[in-house]
Subunit: 117 residues, 6 copies
């Protein structure tokens, strides 16, 4: 069982719900736009999730990394493929990405354990 | 004919050559690592180039965007697929990415003209 | 007459039109969202334009700075108020913002000349 | 009662005091400059706090966001006005800002509870 | 005793080991490159560690800051010298660096306590 | 003769003078603070200029890079030492720094030519 991933998911859901209650038209539209950006289009959803993951790594946002790793793993990306994408992010973003690489590798492991647990 | 792309390629080649002359072991190894990061591995080279392009867009580097667009187009990505990747970068990175979206779209057009010219 | 501002406006219009032709639903919606974000709401449009300007300065994007300065000046912000906002951006973002402060001050001057010319 | 805000305030005070003890002239002057940047000038203090908040959101710094939200709420900004400013930050900074939007909305709620508690 | 530094070191070691197990050639080479970048060359290692520290501060990465502070203190930099380097980072990076300045000052203190403890 | 460096110096002087005319107390104090940050203190000025250069490279600001390279070369840093510092910036900041590495190497060459010309 992964406490860290559970807490992230639960915090994320709770606050996203609270943001929904605010009922700000612009914010709601942004959330819709964000969801749509990863759906099948000229590029398949699976590819777009990997793009979102690498973008999150070079911008160094752990919550975004966790979210996109879960999406990528649900979409069927294998560990070796994720690690290869991590490498692109590492080379583009430099050693400042390393703490987020550590976080990302841990998330992949936690997710596999959660699924097999 | 694209003056802008020609000038970029020529400047890039000239300075990369000059950097080679410096003969700094760390810098040379970094350039090798950078080249290798986009070669076929668990992920195909074509996918990795698209990852590099989106990373360049959210980090807002026009020279990197131009380089990766050329690599992506050589690798066979269609315009509609590139635009769909641009959209992911736009949503992740926000309106601050828009000037780089303009630049990227212009580069796609210049490259197609150059190829057909 | 300001060649720099004219060229920026003309380049921006030409490429935005080209982006419109691409007809990507996500990109079109993002542009709409971007426009709506600065319209009167709980905060008046005038205040939002100043928020957009400071955000552009700390994120160090000259094209975004130019765009928001023009919007701010059309909305009625005085030079002294803009300079006071520049100071907030400078303190938050640090000396790395200075080249963009120079650019911003030049844009304010060019715009005043253009209006009085 | 808000444990998170209390801990932040207490940590912030303790370390700022420690930084004062270091007695580095440059650092002390920077802290003064930072304080002065948000005082009434050509723009009123209230407006500048909102500028500081949006700058903090697009630069994605939770501690800075918390600090400026408290300042903004003390200065009299209403929740709806803060959410409208959050929307500008979200559109400028993109989905990478969303985790910080969640944090910011939680801080607004925690602060209101603390005041009414 | 410093719980925070101990936990960081232990987490860092455990995950770096896990990353080693992945056995991705690019990632391994990047880690080597990273290690080599701080070894004696035209510049002595001690100077390079200070460069790495300031780079980490302006890029606002607490884990990187902690790592480089420990390296800098092992290399013999005095507190007053570190604080002077912090000031450069603060001026270049702006008030957004302040939360990381607090973290950095706390790390220096924790490390001195750990050594004398 | 270096047109690029001359134009940069002339533009920088002209706009800094214009910023001085604005006579904004906060901005003037920031410029003073910035100047003082690189003067001899616990660390010698020469070391601080190198810190400022590496900070400018990882934050990817060409004007800041040019300014600090000139300061570093005036302070007596040799080319090989500068290249070793560039390598630290490259490893910390990643391949996104490469266009700025090209710019920096060109600036070093232009400055040497200007001095010997």
């Amino acid at each position: 069982m992964s406490t860290r991933l559970d807490e992230f998911q639960s915090y994320r859901s709770r606050l996203n719900e609270r943001i929904g209650e605010i009922d700000h038209l612009g914010i709601k539209r942004f959330f819709n736009l964000d969801t749509h950006a990863y759906q099948d289009g000229a590029l398949p959803s699976k590819t777009k999730e990997l793009l979102g993951l690498v973008a999150s790594m070079v911008l160094r946002c752990n919550d975004c990394i966790d979210y996109h790793i879960l999406q990528c793993m649900e979409a069927g990306w294998e560990d070796a493929e994720l690690f290869d994408a991590f490498n692109v992010a590492l080379v583009v973003g430099g050693s400042i990405v390393i703490p987020h690489l550590r976080h990302a590798v841990e998330t992949v492991d936690l997710y596999r354990q959660m699924k097999s647990g």
